[in-house]
């Protein structure tokens, strides 16, 4: 099968998975205890039960739980409605983010904030990939040297450090050294972002934390992967041919080690997204992660549903991209 056919097939395969994920989330919300209408109503002031009932019914109809003649709408009809809205990029209205008494449409909120998450994640992903490759190569080629031991211990310590605490410690260090905590304030997000120096200033610490978080994970794996390959016979052959050390490592060892490394990186992507939720929240970075955690605190069901649809979608796209890179790395793989 051709590459195009493979990509098409994989892209289409995302659809049933996304359907299953949304169905799972939807079911979880539906079977959870508590009445979402009561959550939505909050502390409404009513003197008579009639007034309260009217408010309750109005809210329930607006949320789509009751139809106009006050009958309960079955859950599968609501799910079909949800999917239908999703296909039109309509994710409903937020409960907690309001403007003039009306909920702000979620697609607008997510559209405004997704760029921060994407910038942060892409930047730290590329940085941690480059740095961990460098560290992996240094420690694998000079096994048991001073640098290898130091780096291995440092990686182990970093690996055992909870990411949120690493972010907090970075904040503390930066506070003592530069009197700068890195907690984002409004001036950082004045548009246009590209020309805003404050944006870059406040981007430094979150990127650094997330990079370190991914780095310690990947560098260990790259090191052990390279060590395994350096023991192979063809490396000995290449060395005994009198090839340059650099050529042996980068042309023979590294290219063959890339495939398992790419697999590992593809599997570590959900960890990166989880990590970005943690780091964003510590630094008040207004990305999707912060929005998700705030929505979770406010029990903002539509918002949680929306973020829980976006995150797996981002992850599935990223995994699709890693799978496609296989083809370019390994010429033996044919689809």
């Amino acid at each position: 099968m051709s590459l195009k056919g493979y990509i098409l097939r994989r892209t289409i395969y995302i659809v049933p998975i996304m359907l299953a994920i949304t169905l799972m989330n939807f079911t979880l919300i539906n079977i959870s205890p508590g009445d979402p209408v009561l959550v939505r109503l909050g502390l409404i002031k009513c003197e008579t039960p009639e007034c309260y009932n009217a408010a309750y019914n109005k809210e329930a109809i607006e949320m789509g739980l009751l139809d106009n003649s006050l009958y309960t709408v079955p859950w599968f009809e609501r799910y079909i409605d949800f999917v239908n809205d999703l296909l039109h990029f309509d994710l409903g209205k937020s409960w907690s983010y309001t403007q003039a008494g009306e909920g702000i449409p979620i697609s607008k909120i997510i559209g405004d904030h997704a760029v921060y998450t994407v910038v942060l994640n892409l930047l730290s992903f590329v940085l941690s990939l480059l740095l961990s490759t460098a560290i992996g190569v240094v420690s694998a080629t000079r096994q048991n040297s001073f640098w290898d031991r130091t780096l291995t211990v440092a990686m182990l310590l970093g690996y055992s450090m909870p990411l949120f605490w690493l972010a907090k410690l970075l904040m503390l260090v930066s506070y003592y050294l530069f009197n700068f905590t890195g907690v984002a304030n409004k001036s950082a997000f004045n548009k246009p972002l590209i020309l805003n120096p404050m944006f870059y200033k406040f981007l430094i610490l979150p990127t650094l934390s997330l990079t370190l978080g991914g780095l310690v994970f990947m560098a260990r794996l790259i090191r052990s992967q390279l060590l395994e390959i350096l023991r192979q016979d063809y490396i000995t052959t290449a060395k005994s041919k009198g090839l340059d050390r650099r050529a042996v490592i980068y042309k023979h060892a590294f290219r063959n080690g890339l495939l398992p490394i790419v697999t590992i990186i593809g599997n570590s992507l959900p960890g990166l997204l989880s990590g970005s939720v943690m780091v964003e929240s510590v630094f008040g970075w207004p990305g999707l992660g912060t929005i998700f955690l705030e929505a979770a605190f406010m029990r903002d069901y539509p918002m949680m549903m929306a973020t829980n649809t976006i995150f797996p979608f981002l992850f599935l796209i990223a995994r699709l991209l890693t799978d496609i890179t296989y083809v370019f790395i390994d010429p033996r793989i044919k689809y």
Binding site: I17, A20, I21, M24, N25, L28, I29, S32, P33, G34, Q143, L156, L157, Y159, S160, M161, P162, L163, F164, W165, K168, M171, L172, Y175, T181, R223, S224, L227, E228, P270, G271, L273, S274, V277, M278, S281, F292, L293, A296, F297, R299, M304, T307, N308, F311, P312, F315, L316, R319
Partner: protein, 353 residues
């Protein structure tokens, strides 16, 4: 006629050097576990991990017993209750008393008791880890917090591994439709970032009334979400083991499927399970601490993660309040990671670099 020059062979000496020979000699007749233990003992980092883990487990057990004993003492032995002294009516300290002793020995300040005159004290001899904003001794909180933090890690990981093992072994042994369905479910669970899914589920179900409070909900959903990895590893192990001769022999003898699975194949795939458990406990403790850090724990419980959540914003002004719980989490995760890595090398030397 070609003859072997016997003298030359004798002069060359044994092919292996003496230490290796001794090692081989000492391994003779030793069981698998004693060999593993010997390999582990040689691994310095692994032994450091083992010491840390043993210390922490002992600490968790001792603190649990002390707190229970103190509760019992306070409720049943009216030693300290002096009606003229109102302070003696409250359980201010964790004490230790044995029959025959006149006065109980005061060991710790009670972790939940607040002293209004001892607020925000930096570390000193009286309070080695300082006191928090409510006047509770941080040393006592950290010591008695070990119980919940460690127990949650153990229970969460063990439940996960048990679910994963059962499902993985059934699907690996029988294959077919069950295996297909299981694979799809694992794929589904793995396409969600775990932490996000966990927060989502816990927010929805945190008000469920089940014994054990919020942490019971956390443990249940954690194990329902994260059994996939164990199931996949056990399944692949079963695929390779069920073709072996000893399974054929069992079948020929007429053994029941369950007997073959749980008495014969499963013990043979114990090594990866031990590694999963050890490394997994580190991950579980980290996940629960992260949940507590972001406010999805139980604030009424004495645990490291919840203390960390409570004082996280005081890091700049009163660094000792969040620092010590965080250090304990760090050491626990470090210890289990070191031990897990060493165990992996000891159980399967092929994986060693």
């Amino acid at each position: 006629m070609a003859t072997v020059d016997k003298k030359a062979v004798e002069e060359e000496g044994p092919i292996l050097d003496e230490t290796t020979l001794k090692e081989i000699e000492s391994m003779k007749g030793a069981g698998q576990w004693s060999i593993v233990w010997r390999r582990l003992k040689k691994d310095t980092m692994g032994m450091v991990g083992l010491y840390i883990v043993t210390f922490l487990i002992l600490m968790a057990i001792v603190s649990w017993f002390l707190l229970m004993y103190d509760k019992w003492l306070f409720n049943n032995v009216a030693l300290t209750r002096d009606p003229d002294n109102p302070y003696s009516l409250a359980n201010l300290y964790v004490d230790f008393w044995l029959p025959g002793m006149k006065e109980p020995i005061i060991l710790f300040q009670h972790p939940e008791w607040q002293f209004a005159d001892q607020v925000k004290l930096p570390p000193s001899i009286e309070h080695p880890f300082g006191t928090d904003k409510n006047g509770r001794d941080m040393f006592s909180r950290v010591f008695f917090g070990a119980t919940i933090s460690m127990a949650l890690g153990f229970i969460g990981q063990m439940t996960t591994v048990i679910i994963g093992t059962i499902l993985g072994s059934l699907s690996g042994y029988y294959g077919g439709l069950f295996d297909d369905i299981l694979q799809r479910i694992v794929e589904l669970l793995y396409s969600m970032p775990g932490f996000i899914l966990l927060v989502f589920v816990i927010v929805l179900f945190e008000n469920t009334n089940i014994p054990g409070g919020r942490y019971a909900v956390v443990v249940i959903f954690f194990s329902l979400i994260s059994w996939g990895g164990t199931a996949l590893i056990v399944r692949s192990n079963f695929f390779s083991l069920k073709q072996q001769d000893f399974v054929e022999a069992e079948k020929a003898l007429g053994a029941a499927d369950m007997r073959i699975i749980f008495r014969h194949i499963l013990p043979n795939s114990l090594a990866p399970l031990i590694i999963i458990i050890t490394l997994g406990i580190a991950g579980t403790i980290f996940t629960f601490a992260a949940l507590a850090f972001y406010g999805f724990g139980d604030p009424n419980v004495v645990s490291w993660g919840d203390d960390l959540n409570r004082w996280q914003n005081d890091l700049m002004t009163y660094p000792w309040m969040p620092m010590f719980p965080a250090l304990m989490i760090f050491f626990t995760v470090l210890g289990f990671n070191l031990l897990g890595d060493a165990l992996r090398d000891a159980l399967d030397p092929r994986l060693k670099d």
